[in-house]
């Protein structure tokens, strides 16, 4: 259909998917994450979070998952973060910036961080053995279609995640209704 969508494309994209870009994006994501929890000003934290989300979207792109990257940008960076900012602007920032941070929760946080570190180390030591063999290294061009078949199945056949997908959407519907009922006393 589109002459641009030839198999050679994946090879041509390869120069972008270099360790340099990986470490750049990963570093940005981590730095953003650290800023999110250390900034006293909530709006600065939110901006740092956006940087993190965008960096993660970049990582998705490097994994040849453009659809996931696009959704990441639309839903998280574009939608959810705007709502975050909306709420942050409504709350009293002056007061929250004076509150003590990590009040009495830091041992828990430390424990959680140690556990996560242990997990990473074990994953690093064991290597690929932890992950399923079948990697979804799909060509960029058909990535979206692959996701569609995973979620919705092909003609006459349910995909592997169809049921989970439907359940998730039902859950979201319930959440929406719950939110409406909680905020509006009188409908």
């Amino acid at each position: 259909m589109n002459p641009g969508l030839n198999p050679g494309m994946v090879r041509d994209m390869a120069p972008v998917a270099t360790p340099f870009f990986f470490y750049l994006l990963a570093g940005l994501a981590v730095a953003g994450g650290v800023l999110v929890i250390t900034r006293r000003n909530a709006v600065h934290s939110a901006l740092a979070l956006i940087v993190t989300l965008l960096a993660v979207a970049g990582l998705y792109l490097m994994l040849f998952a453009p659809f996931v990257a696009g959704v990441q940008i639309i839903v998280y960076a574009g939608g959810i973060m705007v709502l975050f900012l909306f709420v942050i602007m409504l709350v009293n920032i002056e007061r929250s910036s004076k509150d003590r941070r990590f009040n009495r929760m830091w041992p828990v946080g430390l424990a959680a961080a140690c556990a996560l570190l242990a997990l990473f180390v074990s994953a690093f030591v064991k290597g690929k053995a932890l992950f399923p063999d079948r990697m979804m290294s799909l060509p960029e061009s058909s990535n979206t279609q692959q996701i569609a078949t995973m979620l919705y199945g092909e003609a006459g056949k349910m995909g592997p995640y169809t049921f989970a997908f439907e359940i998730a959407s039902l859950l979201l519907l319930v959440a929406i209704l719950g939110a409406v009922i909680m905020t509006k006393k009188k409908i």
Binding site: M9, L83, S141
Partner: protein, 436 residues
Amino acid sequence: MPNFIMSYLNSKDAITPGAAGSQFWALIYVFVIFTGVSVAVMAMNWLERKALAHFQIRLGPMRVGPHGLLQPIADAIKLMLKEDIIPAEADQFVFWVAPMIGLLAAFAVYTVIPFGPSQAVSDMNIGILFMLGVSSLGVLGIVVAGWASNSHYPLIGALRSSAQMVSYEVAMGLAVVSAILMTSMNASGTGTLSMIGFVRAQQEQGVWFIFKFFPLGLIAFVIFAIAMVAETNRAPFDMAEAESELTAGYHTEYSGLRWSLFMLAEYAAMIAVSSIAVTLWLGGWMRPFPNLLNARTWDFIFSLFPALTFFGLAAIGIVGVVRMSSHSFFRIQRIGLAVFAAVLGFIALLLLVIAVAGRSADANVAASSASRFREGIDYVYWFVLKVAVFMYLFIWYRATWPRYRFDRLMRVGWKVLLPISLGVLIVTAIVGVIVS
């Protein structure tokens, strides 16, 4: 290097530099598009002021250059030289970064806009998704600017803008989805998210999506057309600025270059969303009736349009020269306008030559680079013409309508546009299944 250029131009498959993996060409395209959009924004600025003025029985800018043609340049210089004021109580860093966010978002979109089958930086597989996603980032700039100004009017403007954009994005997205559905109404039954894919799908199906499953396509298009005005904060949905209510909304505290960045972002975003509308529903770069009137003669006739347009503009310029007062005060203006008309006429001649040369090349079986060049001009011309219609509509709306009220706007978004777009989506799906 020349070989490199010619090899790209002569390559059989018309593919975008991004798809070809040619970073050099991608950079060239980025540069050309960035320059082109900046110039278009300036032209749009002038055009808006002139057109609005004539709607309102005024003349608009008349002093800087003949008929104010140099006004945008003068404005740009003024804005760049103006003192850059950051309010003392503002959040300095965020205040500084906010216009950049808006501008980056507005310009990043242009990487996937297809001005022609190969006239785009890249043909992303998720093109439309990327466009919607990145253009939705633009609101972050506005929200953050309003907050960082640490002032009430900008804050209200930012709140309005964020609520408005989030709600209209939903209707906009659903309208887009119905267009995406239409791309799959082909033999293979697979659709696409690629921007170039959209136009190709319309080409294959032989119909602009605005007329597909009439009136479904039209309704989806109208919803998109409404939502895109809201999305770009333009009248009658310019609640975030609303100069009579919020003085200037989110950019009340901005001045000089930073302010002009907001304006640049706004106009760039207008062109971007219009491009989406053109690509999705109005056949993108395709000339009218490409499948119906497909004889080579018709091809030639339509390829004369760019030249004719520039001839027309040159003629208007000449009329302007003739009608201008012969008083010595206007001498420089007369000369300026005459030169301007001459340049336009020259461009028209050039285009004419290219059209004719491209046609004679058509006779040969092998497509020469001349004919490819001619086709490229045609594509860009028709695309830009369609976008220009939208730009004019933006001005027209602004001249005609009062401003919506915020709660009404939200009501229209959630209670009218959203259900209709959902309904259109469902009906499109059903009709699509029945037809196929």
